[in-house]
Symmetry: C2
Subunit: 371 residues, 2 copies
């Protein structure tokens, strides 16, 4: 799989045009128009040790206009490509829900048959386009759900809707700067003067550290994905890692939280087609770990019972080769399964509200990380 280009709304238009022109050429030379993309089914998804993330293999799928079973999907894909080209030329963004209603509206006028009846039809075709054109949907002016917040020594320039705004993430008060869907197009790093990036699972913990100005004292960039990270949040972390900043992840001590770390580090199976853009294999895990119960006495009395989903997720994670190759993680996961306990990162506020910062400072300075 070729490296996908980024920061490329500019190129996206040309790529869409190329797709259409290619099809016209095929028709003109008496060939069947075809559309091909990497296969995204489970059999074509694997962990690639050489790059350190989960990516798509080389299997391709081809859609042919003259195939009765594929003609509808083919037409739908072309209709979506056409809409995205329009959004790009208008310089306007929408969601995949907005795209769906545009498709339903326009085609309802021109065709007897409804080309799209459910959004579940258009969503996978958007992914097809992303994979085929080697672009993110964000480059096609399609917004994804945004989630996550950042504070710290990072200044960005946001060119958007005709305005140009400088965003200084040291001047965002109690709120922080909300991470948008697209952190590439029209979004430049003006300065990144930090020593590392700290990713904190929970917003409540992020607010605690933000209030204590942890990012200023430690000269770090403080991010919370607010649970599982959005595409935009993973992409921002990746862009910061590309600036040679170490990335440390801090989650609950349970398989659910740890999986948030692994999704940032190696990507995830359903976003394998984007891994090159959003996986950060260099990320390291700073806590919370089962080992911490031995190192911090008070945590013993603040453990809680692991939920069924935590146990199930822990069992699954032991089956992932990219996790089970690390003895430290096998030990951690097996401890969860044998003790059926978990520790929330919030528990680090037990002794005093500021303790969570002391804990992080100690572990980071002593490089007590898991791989």
């Amino acid at each position: 799989m070729a490296k996908r280009s980024v920061n490329s709304s500019k190129d996206a238009f040309a790529k869409l045009e190329g797709l259409g022109k290619g099809m016209i050429n095929e028709i003109n030379s008496g060939e069947t128009p075809t559309f091909s993309a990497s296969l995204r089914s489970k059999g074509n998804v694997f962990y690639d040790e050489s790059v350190g993330y989960i990516r798509l293999g080389d299997k391709m799928e081809e859609r042919r206009f003259v195939n009765v079973g594929q003609a509808r999907k083919f037409m739908q894909t072309v209709a979506i490509a056409n809409k995205c080209k329009k959004f790009l030329s208008e310089g306007a963004h929408t969601s995949i829900r907005g795209l769906f209603y545009q498709l339903k509206f326009t085609l309802g006028e021109d065709l007897d048959e409804e080309l799209f009846s459910e959004q579940s039809e258009s969503n996978p075709l958007v992914e097809d386009l992303e994979v085929s054109l080697e672009l993110k949907r964000e480059d096609l002016n399609l917004n994804t759900d945004r989630k996550g917040v950042v504070a710290g020594p990072l200044v960005l320039k946001d060119k958007f809707g005709g305005d140009e705004t400088e965003i200084d993430c040291t001047k965002q008060g109690r709120s922080g700067w909300m991470i948008p869907s697209d952190v590439d197009n029209g979004m430049d790093f003006v300065s990144v003067d930090a020593d590392y990036v700290l990713v904190v699972e929970k917003d409540a913990m992020w607010q605690r550290l933000n209030e204590d100005k942890f990012w200023r004292k430690e000269n770090c960039i403080l991010i919370t994905p607010k649970g599982q990270s959005s595409r935009g949040c993973r992409r921002l972390i990746k862009r910061l890692a590309n600036k040679k900043l170490p990335v440390y992840v801090f989650t609950d001590c349970d398989a659910w939280g740890w999986y948030i770390y692994w999704a940032i580090k190696t990507g995830s199976m359903n976003l394998a087609y984007l891994a090159n853009d959003i996986a950060t294999p260099e990320a390291r895990f700073v806590g919370v770990t089962m080992q911490d119960i031995k190192d911090y006495d008070f945590l013993g009395s603040l453990t809680i019972r692991a939920k069924d989903v935590d146990i199930k997720r822990a069992e699954e994670m032991l089956g992932y080769e990219w996790i089970s190759r690390h003895k430290e993680w096998v030990d951690e996961l097996k401890t969860v399964l044998s003790t059926k306990k978990k520790i929330e990162q919030d528990a680090l506020q037990g002794p005093r509200l500021s303790f969570v910062g002391e804990y992080l400072r100690e572990k980071i300075s002593k490089k007590k990380f898991l791989p």
Copy 2:
């Protein structure tokens, strides 16, 4: 019920101290320490037409230290009040989860018996304190879940964690300013130069309008609660309404969306104790309505089937006197029940991405509101 004071972290400390001193006085004069608060059970919650929101009635509940059935709760309440006093004197915030771990940690050291085993024990006691002291938990340095975004001609001064930051909501680029948990303490309005407030249910729609600079063209403050509104978001809307700005709410055309409007307008039953702070009875509904299908031809083909939850919620809403007293709303709800259809606000992007702005402009300029 007395009007609760706001912007009162400063007063909160004195109130907590007063609570403790009152108890000591009771003990010293040979009386039983008592703790009293408005009853929050269903029988004491009602819609008050004179104020236009759902509030608590006059029934009180009293907790007595010497009552065997109440002693544990009494001690727990005192422990929580004590912790909050500490947070206020330290000038540090945490979540109710952080509070729970502090309680678990400290009391675990001093007592043989565990005073708190589950957070479900401490949460309702925090509400007791809010009601009894006529304060919001935000005034006790307890953060609530934050959600929602704002852009437009609003400038705030955020005094937080030793910093003072000016937040200009016209300079927030694609992201907007994230509405925090507490929009009162240390949060001053520097200027509010808008003609009205527009509250948009969905973040995707908010982003669409933000990109088109709807707030600049219409000189309005553009807010999305991102679905059901958080306490902080409702409180911000209320503060803006107190500045005499009209508030218009724009949601999906289904009972789920409409209920988001009603929660902003009249408050909700489980937050009846906060209604005076967070309900905005002056709010008006701008759309989407079933009537719109008649006024905008294209919407007919873009309706979708109402879900079971929409139908159930519509039936419930017809039973609420504060809604069913409005003939317009009864008609709307009955149309949902008879047609079993709904319209998403996203559907207004059907004809063109910018149509949603045209729709709002027309309805607002012609004052086509529902009460």
